[in-house]
Amino acid sequence: MVNSSKSALGIIFPNSYDALVPELVNVRLMASIPFGSRYRLIDFILSSMANCDIDNVSVMVNNNYHSLMDHLDSGREWDLVRKNGGLHIFPPFAEKSSKPFVGRVGALASILDFLRDQKEKYVVIADTNVIVNFDFRDMIKTHIETGADVTVVYNEQELPESLLKSTSNDKGFYYTLNIEDGRVTRMFVNAREPGVQNFAMNIFLIDRELLIDLVNTAFVHGQEYFERDILLPRLNKLNVQAYKYEGYVARISDMKSYFDENMKLLDDYNLDALFSGAPIYTKIRDDNPTRYIDGAKVQNVMVADGCIIEGEVENSILFRGVKVAKGAKVKNCILMQDTTVEAGADAEYLITDKNVTISAGKEMKGTDSFPVYIGKFQTV
């Protein structure tokens, strides 16, 4: 089987929704935000693709992407080093007149020649702020069975408060769906409806030839957004099918949800729901196992390798290489890679970025509703 009719290539938009978490994307982009003690957000969708034989994946980086290049490297950890396909990273093609892409259309238009050269029948498009362990095989099967032109993935959930309360559209667009007999009949942009909605997860499946055609047309008309400018006006003409996802979904829509979705993994039920399917791959750091030294007290924590724990840690997520010294207290915190909490320090409701130091004896506390974020390389 070189390329069967069931085959799809993947396109990931790692910068989508950067504006939702401005602090975290100061030195990176959405896709490389650390999550769940040893992962980055892109690991989930990228592993999902790799696990479903989608082994020709293009990552359309836009800005702040050095951290992502470092993380993905050759794509080897996801088994995406291939002669045919494999991982491609497409930065904007720098010309005199070029600007970073606004929506998906410009980015897709820039790789139309590449897309024309590919052999896969379908294209899967996805963002990285929706964390899922997704089975694309079932989606492709359903797409074929329903004779869809486009399949749109959604889940049933209430809109996050940050979106409901937003008074502007400057954080980007999100979409809710009206569905009749499985077909999307209407799409709403930035709805503010309370209650459970059919909330699009920004995962699409579309015929490659159709995508090329649609993007080409949209681009010459100066249109920018795939959903708003291509799908929404064509809901009558195209068979746009809705695919309901019932698995575990973690959405990052602001700092609070970033904090909450990490913390939810402390519940085994949620952890198993996200990880019990196919494996999620990530960059390997070759840390040694975590060491708990006499005096350590730990309750309800998730900890990656390479940590040294001598103090007290409770209800927290610790990434690789975190050090908690003797007498230090860490409660309700997310401590990213190589954070150091020195002796006697007291940390509560913090999100510390990479290489943060909480100095000896210092007290630093956020609250349940407002966890305090401390930027990369900062010393408190």
């Binding site: 070759d286 975590t290 708990y292 350590a296 309750q299 924590v301």
Partner: protein, 402 residues
């Protein structure tokens, strides 16, 4: 293009003194230190020392080892020219032979070595835990203008007669070799790590092969022959951590020493000398409310709801509520059910210890054994496994084994 030095790693040993642990596993593939296998140490030493070509000589139960090594990528040994190669015995036009001894294993792979045209060959052993800079050893070898060098450790005089000993003069020149002598003249124990000039090694391997009475062994044949001919032989003093983990008790002890790097000298937290391994790919480990973890090492995929004290848990170990673990080495994928008590023992991979079962015991005056449970074994609920037991078959619920 010639390589300056390549490594040949002897990994064919059965490790029969590890009993249940090596029934289906070559000794170098035995898990160690929470996320490693023994062979990770020599392989990481090689790549950290700048050696990019390693031949691994396998013979006994090689499946797990072969799969583990794969293309060598975890150790950065997937190279266009060189890299890691697994070298099992193979059939030749003139017939085929198992590796008859350590020297014969190298002899049978002379053509492999010649592909790289090396000036030096380092012979390594796949059953030791050691962090060693082989480039420093090579520097010594060159400075002495040696034809053969052996890494030696000073051991206590009262234990010296257990080792192969090198008697050396004040310039480290070896004058005599004693294999496990009753009356040791030296306390410099051979670590079984040798650097040869390739031309010398090849000459002596061929000569050794031609001798029908030879055991084809480095210690028993090659080294005595070199001495006989007054070759330039030197002893390189190594004073870092080194441990032969060929027995259950030494394997257990070495694991426990990992928990105390400040005193034992085996520091796995060394950024400048990382030990690489193939990754489990599991999530971070979890310690639930109500669990206790003291002075232990825990890695990805573990779920701890019980009590863990002074122990090493490998990837994916589950410790249920009320279970108690102390002074134990618990290898990957093992499940310890509620109320089970697991002490002073080695539990291999994918074992299930049933509810309220008891495995091993803390050492007392007359019992100091390290209970050992082989891979894939199920210990039934309420079963009791004594401190000297070596279990390689399922034990039914309520049964006792001593």
């Amino acid at each position: 293009m010639a390589k300056e030095m390549i490594a040949m790693l002897l990994a064919g040993g059965q490790g029969s003194r590890l009993y249940a642990l090596t029934e289906k596993l070559a000794k170098p593939a035995v898990p160690f230190g929470g996320k490693y296998r023994i062979i990770d140490f020599p392989l990481s030493n090689c790549v950290n020392s700048g050696i990019d070509t390693v031949g691994i000589l396998t013979q006994y139960q090689p499946l797990v080892l072969n799969e583990y090594i794969g293309n060598g990528q975890p150790w950065d040994l997937d190279r266009l020219y060189g890299g890691v190669h697994v070298l099992p015995p193979y059939q030749k036009a003139s017939g085929s032979d198992w590796y008859k001894g350590t020297a014969n294993a190298i002899y049978q792979n002379i053509s492999f070595i010649e592909r790289y045209d090396p000036k030096y060959v380092i012979i390594l052993s796949g059953d030791q835990i050691c962090k060693q800079d082989y480039s420093d050893f090579l520097k010594f070898h060159k400075e002495k203008d040696a034809e053969f060098s052996v890494a030696v450790m000073e051991v206590p005089w009262e234990e010296a007669s257990r080792f192969g000993l090198m008697v050396a003069d004040e310039n480290d020149k070896i004058t005599e070799f004693q294999e496990k002598p009753k009356n040791p003249k030296s306390n410099l124990a051979s670590m079984g790590i040798y650097i040869f000039n390739w031309d010398i090694l090849k000459k002596y391997l061929e000569e050794d092969e031609a001798d029908p009475n030879s055991e084809n062994d480095f210690g028993n044949n090659i080294i005595p022959n070199l001495l006989r001919d007054n070759r330039r032989m030197y002893a390189y003093h190594f004073n870092g951590y080194w441990k032969d983990v060929g027995t259950i008790s030494s394997l257990w002890e070495a694991n426990m020493e990992v928990l105390d790097p400040e005193h034992s000298g085996i520091n796995l937290f060394d950024e400048d000398w990382k030990i690489y391994s193939r990754n489990s790919g599991m999530t971070g480990h979890k310690i639930s409310a109500g669990a206790t973890v003291e002075n232990s090492m825990i890695t990805d995929g573990c779920r701890i709801k019980g009590s863990v004290k002074h122990s090493i848990l490998f990837a994916g170990v589950k410790v249920e509520k009320g279970a108690v673990i102390e002074d134990a080495v618990v290898m990957g994928g093992t499940v310890i059910k509620a109320g089970a008590v697991v002490k002073h023992c080695i539990v291999a991979e994918n074992v299930t210890i049933g509810e309220n079962a008891v495995v091993g015991a803390m050492p007392s005056e007359d019992e100091k054994g390290v209970a050992t449970i082989g891979a894939n074994v199920t210990i039934g609920a309420n079963a009791k496994i004594g401190p000297n037991a070596m279990v390689n078959k399922n034990v039914e619920g309520g049964e006792e084994q001593w």
